[in-house]
Symmetry: none
DNA sequence: AATGAATGAGTGTTCATTCAT
DNA sequence: AATGAATGAACACTCATTCAT
């Protein structure tokens, strides 16, 4: 259609009228943005609706309550990509160093650089207020994530490429730098000194490097 | 005080009197707890007052508004310990490895294990809502912290004990694991699989170890 | 109609077509039911539409507003049966006792046992909110009803069959039992102890009996 | 106090300030008035508050929700006067005619002429919407009322003063005229032709008369 | 200084009504 | 004629803040 080729032609009339299939997605995107940026309690449903280009009433046509909107946001942004990820791991042929680097890098590409990255931060606080949602997130995201990392580290130990580790804590060697980045990104000015010059990619690279090699000089 | 000079007559009011100066502190403690646990917006001033054992009205006697209460919480819990810390660094005689380990450990003792640890998380989530407070925290805590870590790493590089690093990113090698812990601690169930069995000390130790040595086996 | 001339082609739309004229009636029936059962304010237009098997929008095609729907409900269910009733009275040949009994009985058959009975109760409760509608009902139903009863009682007094009565109050001797029944019927559990066993006919019979004979034993 | 003796002195300042004990009662009175007049759904809590001379928020200080306000209204206006009434019946020495007349008259004095009379009408509709409240009313008011009337009629039959009756229906000979009056009173214009000239006392007297003697002339 | 009753602006949610299709 | 997506005014309820005592 020439709508997409010339977006200037039908901007207004397209926004009006019925768009039943598109609405929920637009609302969920708007909600994710605002919830991550301002928090759940501070975000008014009217703001969400406005950002999605509809009225307050319309939002309630698709989501029975603000809390249900949050649930839907969480559900939508939890792609079950872990299956795919585990596949890749099974068939990975390279060294453990390469695998860890690949893991950091592909987390950035698939999660960290997307809007979904803010979800963790959002739930960080709301976990106490909405235990049910937190449990869902935990089950769908956190647990699979832990399992994946453990397997990677175990593989490295099995192959003699990684030093012996207590896996219960070693998981966080991978998790902490990634989570820190996703927690901090939506309001970088608090923790990052020069947000303008900060390159997440460079951050990821150094963290991957160092989790493998450590700070100390190595005898060559 | 003449209150204590007539102990038999005013036993009740004496208890009150003794506490009078402590009130603001108790309110700030209660506020920190609740803000960290439930978030700023979700916490009602009445809850804060109740936890501090006073009435809602009394709270407003000491703090003109809920936001001012938050500001006061931030101010109180930002001890200017960086001066002391920098002192210790100047006069530190050991190796860089020891210094980094000491840094992790003493962060845990002085910050991570205290209630103040939750402050970062609180402000992380409210940074966008209260830029002024965030800027204050940034200036008083984040920037000195960054400087401290940079100096430690620089010292290590100067002494040839640490490998060459881009300090702009290397700071986060230290910061990320510590911040992750303090962000996650108040609602551990979200990110930590077995919160009951989780030992922050063991976490700290492994992170310090690994930031120095890395995961890879080292040739002996 | 040419719709029926091509029955094979448009079987669906034919059903629609046949119903087209019936729509308003079905909506009015549904509205009466729901208004009487749940009250005007508590009934949503969507419910009315749903019960009539059409969409919300369709209802507004026939009735410009919810209040107009109520007006139409009232208008439809006020059959001008009083003319016929008065006729019967004029030509009635029996005793006054028989006439009163006949009056009770035929009220039950023509009004009390029909859905229209609930109208009185509905308007009783909404009279203060919609004075205009109440005035209409009063003029079309209440006043003719009063006149009818007065005439019956007057006839009885004239014929020496009924004791002398102040007609301004005596009307309610007939009205009260009938109205009570119609007010109470739609939610009988409130006033009637065993709604399952309650027979309106038996109620009507006893009330008619007693309004004529009274409770006291009569000397034979 | 001279407050009551000179009500003009402190009219305003008295209304402000704390009146914790008086508030609930004032709110309940206002609520009963408005609920009876306009119905539950149509009455806004703000109106109730305004009529009681307080703000919307204050109402919620005393009643957690609008529905709870309704419950409290019902509870408050159900005086347990049935015990007293049954006492009077036990010890009543006169004829059954006198007793029935007394019953009609004292219902008017104790119930019909008070604001509580509107309760029945209010619940008539809300019974379907709030079954729990209806059940309470039924248990506290309707059932004791039925029992009382049955006993009166039974006594009359036992003493040979009243004709044989099926009590299950005879109760309504007493109930219907009284209930009709209380249902109709709050918006008399609907059913009563000349509300200005209508005397409830005259109504009560005639109904009592007639329930005993009937319309038909009696041989003397 | 302390209380807690009172306030009212603000927010989530409902629902009669409109209108593009 | 019929639909049902969209609207926004209206209302129940919350809670930071005030103030008389």
């Amino acid at each position: 259609m020439n709508v997409s080729s010339s977006p200037a032609i039908l901007p207004e009339s397209a926004r009006r009228g019925r768009r039943k299939e598109a609405r929920p997605g637009e609302l969920l995107d708007a909600a994710l943005d605002l919830f991550v940026e301002k928090g759940f309690a501070t975000t008014r449903v009217e703001e969400v609706a406005a950002r999605a280009g509809v009225s307050k009433g319309t939002l309630f046509l698709y989501f029975p309550s603000k809390e249900d909107l949050l649930k839907a946001v969480v559900r939508k942004n939890i792609a079950g990509r872990f299956a795919e990820w585990e596949q890749e791991l099974e068939s990975y042929a390279g060294t453990s160093s390469e695998l860890v680097r690949y893991c950091f890098q592909s987390w950035w590409e698939r999660v960290g650089s997307t809007k979904a990255a803010g979800l963790g931060r959002l739930l960080l606080l709301e976990a106490n207020n909405f235990p049910e949602i937190a449990a869902f997130y935990r089950h769908e995201v956190v647990e699979p994530g832990h399992r994946l990392i453990r397997r990677i580290l175990q593989r490295g130990m099995d192959r003699g490429e990684l030093r012996p580790l207590d896996l219960d804590y070693a998981v966080y060697l991978v998790l902490a730098p990634l989570m820190f980045l996703s927690f901090v990104q939506p309001s970088p000015s608090l923790c990052i000194l020069s947000p303008e010059r900060f390159s997440p990619q460079a951050y990821i690279r150094l963290q991957a490097d160092n989790v493998l090699q450590g700070l100390c000089v190595r005898p060559t």
